[in-house]
Amino acid sequence: MIITVNGDNVSLTKELSLAELIAFLQLDQPDYVTLLVNDRLIYPSEHKSTYVKDGDTVEYLYYMGGGQA
């Protein structure tokens, strides 16, 4: 199946939970990455129970704090 992650197509051989997808993508700061699936914010508490389906659009966003000092 194919999903879209931050605008790029990603091919998966099986359905993955969001927690598994974070590991598969080797995302930085895995405990603090913000995930949206089809424009819906998915809380970290739901990452293990939420599975991506073929055609889903996933966006991952990071906290960014820099800018002043």
Binding site: L36, Y63, M64, G67
Partner: protein
Amino acid sequence: MSQERIAAAAKEIRLSNPQLERYSRHIILNEVGGSGQKKLLASRVLIIGAGGLGAPAAMYLAAAGVGEIGLADYDTVDLSNLQRQIIHHTQDVGKPKAISGQETIQSMNPDVQVQTYREPVRADNIKDIIRHREYDFIIDGTDNFPAKFLINDACVMLQKPFSHAGIIRFQGQTMTYLPGQGPCYRCVFRDMPPKDAIPTCRQAGVLGVMGGIIGTIQAAEALKYILGVGQLLNGFLLTFDARTMTFRKVRINQRENCAICGIQPSITALKDYEQPACDIRQQQAQTFQGGAV
């Protein structure tokens, strides 16, 4: 409503011949014209953090003729700031950033009045700072999450539009909050990250131009809001990666259960979060408290 105040105040302004020349490239724009330039001259923008993001934002807003700019920053200019904080110069090292920024702005454009606030924003002063001149638009140029969440919560409570931004390494992000017109920062990033969970620019570094790119976008959002032109970044988080020169505009929905802008907000009072700001040097913070609020 800020835009109504701006429109009313703009009607009292007459452009002088030097102003007609200075702002001629604005005035010939159909979307600006003489009436738009008067709106800019009648507007008030508060910039919290006169550093990597706030420096370019302040300079472009000053050049554009925003009539009043507030600079809130308790820190002093450090040599390591000069790689990106272009509002400050070598001879400014050791000087309060708010004062250094004020001097640069005044040398750029005498039309601009500058208010300085030389103290950290806190739960007990941020509303007073915003209300001091009833700022029309606020720019978050801070570098720490306690300040970012505080600015978001204060602006939602006061129903003030603001621009959030953050930068690190080769990346940046920004979004705009408009009261009643889309999500706030907490709709995306619900809670403060734990202390030291997210690296800071001091720890991870930042390419100098990142503040210029993202801070200038924040300035553009302020100008568009004042002028009532175009589509702002409300409802979107714009991300930028300089390594690939990739901009991404991610749609963000307002959350009905958001703790501050949702239907039944659970946050009803501002609070100072315990996580210390990454670069707050307590000694300096104490030294420069009691500024011009």
